[in-house]
Symmetry: C2
Subunit: 256 residues, 2 copies
């Protein structure tokens, strides 16, 4: 039986559900930590900084420092930096995205920006959409942190960043580059941060359409854990199966 030397782990639905920790996942990550096996949490949540995410995990008793968290905001900032390190950017998004872009030193601009970046923004306005449309029509590179269509909350499924991004995509008829899961852009960066060859890495998540496809797209093995979105019944409808499945991460303890 194959042993993995590094783990990429999803957060929502895998480590916690909203404000409730998933105890089996906590036990699992504590065991990774105890044995010194590298792990990195990979999240499509662009609204929080890695420090804020790590703090939330620690509040649940999960061993997590800032370095254990890789967000789609960081992946987005890295991606733009690789393409155009001196880019001016127009940003729609919350603290996590704004901080990640500021950390790379990008200048902010309006409809003359080189790059338009859209992440979830619960303070969205028509004017923000308008400037983004004008900039994209002016030829700006068009990037979206992730294509998630819905955001699970206590109230139900609210609009996700993929839905907000569609305003600009539909209006300008320009397709954005999505960075987050299931795209391999975020995964390839996460593998670099983790520092383990991809043959030895396992991607763990609860949602076939993002986590498992992300692993498949990046060519790494996957473990679907049925603690979140994708149930066994839902999984049965897909053609391509994850490498492994589990009811909870307790089942994976003896594979460490």
């Amino acid at each position: 039986m194959k042993r993995y030397n590094g783990y990429l782990i999803d957060l929502d639905g895998t480590m916690y559900r909203g404000t409730e920790c998933i105890a089996e996942a906590r036990t699992f990550v504590n065991e990774l930590h105890r044995r010194g096996i590298p792990y990195l949490f990979v999240t499509n949540n662009s609204s929080r900084t890695p420090a804020q995410v790590a703090e939330k995990l620690r509040s649940f008793g999960v061993p997590a420092e800032e370095k254990h968290v890789f967000t789609t905001s960081q992946a987005t900032a890295n991606y733009i930096f690789e393409k155009k390190p001196d880019a001016s950017v127009y940003v729609i998004g919350e603290e996590g995205l704004q901080t990640a872009l500021a950390d790379k030193g990008f200048r902010l601009a309006g409809e003359d920006a080189d790059v338009v970046v859209i992440g979830i923004d619960r303070q969205i306005t028509y004017e923000k959409f308008a400037v983004a449309c004008l900039a994209v029509r002016n030829g700006a590179m068009f990037i979206s942190t992730n294509g998630d269509i819905a955001l699970p909350t206590e109230r139900g499924l609210l609009p996700g960043n993929g839905a907000l991004t569609s305003v600009v995509a539909v209006s300008t008829q320009v397709k954005p580059t999505f960075i987050g899961k299931p795209e391999k852009i975020i995964m390839e960066q996460a593998l670099k941060v983790l520092g383990v060859p991809k043959e030895d890495v396992l991607m763990i998540g609860d949602y076939y359409e993002t986590d498992i496809l992300a692993g498949m797209n990046a060519g790494i093995d996957t473990l679907l854990v049925h603690t979140g979105v994708t149930t066994k019944e839902m999984l049965a409808r897909y053609e391509r199966m994850p490498t492994y499945t589990a009811d909870s991460l307790l089942e994976w303890l003896d594979r460490l």
Copy 2:
């Protein structure tokens, strides 16, 4: 040569461009008025009331009363009234749409609404999108005043209502019913208001994708006037041609 007994006429790009009147169109409508030929302005603009639109036209010297204006907001309110006269509605939109719905006596509701209606709303918020998504997921009928992807302004092309509507459509994966041009829903209602058999009606507009397709979809003859969006070069790329074309409406005076 066929003579028409009634005219459906687009506004933006046909009667005016932004705040500038198209003089040839003014001359044409004054001649319709002088001869007592029925005409009705048909607009996808959901933000203004018919009274406001008529006032703008009169300020340009175009003979127009409230009864000469038919907006997609009125068509939307009529459509809902036909389907469910006692419906509760959740509305995203501006004064024209809110007034049209209030005139029909619909109750306002939130995520428990029977119908979600979306029109252009330059005071859009995430919370408005959120309630619309929750209502549609709860089974509300999903209606959009029009699918225009862009709104021409002095600043350039800003997001139109079709782009805003896509947030809810993408997030819920439910397709809305669009009411405005090029849909025949608004056209069939406009024909009733005009009160002329459709064989004897000509639809005049500047934009192939909305005005001309609307006429075609409703089975009425069309005149594309090259004073707005669709140039001769653009028109040449379409397979199905309008019944007539003209550089300006002065050319149509001797056809009255």
